[in-house]
Symmetry: C2
Subunit: 344 residues, 2 copies
């Protein structure tokens, strides 16, 4: 089959690889109908050293179940399913608590020996715990929004939950990528009254406003902190959704948090230590977050998509075939595209 | 009047200073009957550079109201009151949310121009919002426990609240000082099932066990992390109360937290950045805490002391007169005393 392999910064190729297949009794084989390129894929696209073995790419997908292992109980061949970026058994203590990304039998697609979803098909371990069947047809108009349940919508929701967004809160969202934009939806959905988006791209800020952002701030650093405080009566916001993952972004996030407030971080951290330890301490600011347990959030968010209350699929601004994926990486890396949908 | 002044590391003196008095209409003048030396005072005792102006010491007290300003409504001369380590107006948005340590008209005793409580008397700003009248006489046997409401019991409780201790949780307490020991009480009070105390002093670990600790670990660093995981089925604890304030202690605290768990830090941080950012992220660990809003916790904790359900006063192992305070600092700094009560 054909699949996307990254060999180093800027070096993404579509290659022939061995066919994905069921190898464990708990596996499903899923033929991909929809995948996408993630902002987190761009970290490798910027920084991956060359010379090592290639890395299978992609961790977001919708597809059709083609085969299941002998012990799979809840899925049948032909089911249309959405696949979270992490697989999980659904039964371990962490899955039971809703933290599927810490499943004791879990792992991540496109990492280690696991195949990726920017491919014709993917082997899904722990299929019963991982996949969720969708009650629509594969050509439904909701497909882009349903695809965001794989990662970005659940991740934006996790940022909002981790930042303890409550009805009437004011919220800042650091980052205008697809996760930040979904964070705006999530904050609005949880009842935030004022939502400040921090970003520098007019097209993205437009979408943020359509999703419920009330204010936009395009400066950075101390200037942005000052502006957010001005916009919120001088104290800062109750909740910051940190959707970037740099030291600067965290510094800024903590700076604009109101005393007693919280930062929910979902941007994969590219910093060794969390900055601003002392300001965070003296203002009793909570720092929370991590890889989103999107599997458990699918249950929460799916009805809102099916009933049209939220439309996260608007973050996709390009659709490409598998062969065009390298161009998709370029477009996202150059900020010419917010998020690319892939139709293998 | 006589008061305690610190001039540098190891240099604490009892001096004649101008009498404390009411200067604002919202002030009360409190004559100190009970004060104490705090673990946080020892940071200055170890590190304060010499040569600067002296610093008035002490921020924990019980005393008698001697005079009140014209606008004080809830207190009368003769009232026996407990004084939190921070003053607060009780009415600002943060006080209303229970975060009195971020009061917009608040501040800290023994800091800046504010007098300290290791003295014969202290001026208390925002007296109505700050002081709590006690329904006992000044010689009541409960006095040591009531005195801990000034700081250490409320701070231990804040660590437990920030670490989200719940019924049935397992908990680790890093640090066997007075705050750590009160943290054990707080964790137990909130229903923790297993409480692991980390410390190295047999006498303190004895008290911890009397307070409800189920296990003690006397190693440090990675070794301690491994031991705590072994004690908790391999995953680590739901909640860690970080009651030290060093980089090593935070590193250890994050290391022993179960995925999805939380660290409540109340040790004044002597580190610029919070370590272990990436392990904390990948395990969805929350870091929370800061200066405890002990004023709002007095309401919560006072009944338990009055009715004998908790006995945090057992952390005091010495009582000294004001003139002996320098010896008290030495004793605490050399770990010969857990906590010194001062009777001016």
């Amino acid at each position: 089959m054909r699949a996307t392999v990254m060999y180093g910064a800027g070096d993404v190729r579509i290659e022939k690889v061995p066919d994905a297949r069921v190898t464990e009794p708990t596996d499903a084989l899923v033929v991909i109908t929809h995948a996408c390129i993630c902002g987190s894929d761009l970290w490798g696209y910027k920084l991956m050293p060359p010379g090592g073995p290639g890395r299978a790419m992609g961790h977001e997908a919708i597809g059709i179940v083609e085969a299941v292992g002998a012990s799979v109980r809840t899925l049948r061949t032909g089911d249309l399913v959405v696949m979270p970026f992490a697989y999980s058994d659904g039964t371990c203590p962490f899955c039971q608590e809703g933290l599927n990304t810490s499943c004791v039998n879990g792992g991540f697609f496109g990492a280690g020996q696991m195949g990726g979803a920017q491919a014709e098909a993917v082997r899904v371990p722990q299929a019963d715990g991982t996949l969720v069947a969708l009650p629509v047809s594969r050509d439904d108009a909701l497909m882009p929004s349903l695809l965001t349940l794989s990662d970005v919508m659940g991740t934006g929701h996790h940022a909002a939950v981790s930042a303890r967004v409550r009805r009437g809160h004011n919220v800042a969202v650091v980052g205008d990528g697809a996760v930040g934009l979904c964070g705006v939806i999530a904050a609005r959905r949880l009842g935030a009254e004022q939502i400040v988006i921090l970003g520098r791209h007019a097209d993205r800020l437009e979408i943020a406003k359509a999703f419920g952002a009330t204010d936009a701030v395009s400066t950075r650093g101390e200037e942005a902190v000052t502006r957010v405080r001005e916009l919120t009566g001088g104290f800062g916001v109750h909740s910051v959704l940190e959707c970037v993952g740099t030291d600067d972004a965290m510094q800024m996030a903590i700076g604009m948090t109101r005393p007693g407030g919280a930062v929910g971080r979902v941007g994969v951290p590219h910093y060794e230590a969390i900055p601003a330890s002392q300001p965070a301490f003296y203002r009793n600011i909570t720092v929370s977050g991590g890889p989103a347990p999107v599997r458990s959030y699918i249950t929460t968010l799916l009805p809102d998509i099916l009933e049209g209350r939220i439309e996260p699929g608007r973050v996709f601004d390009r659709t490409m075939k598998l062969d065009e994926v390298p161009a998709g990486y370029r477009a996202m890396n150059e900020r010419k595209s917010i998020k690319v949908m892939v139709r293998p």
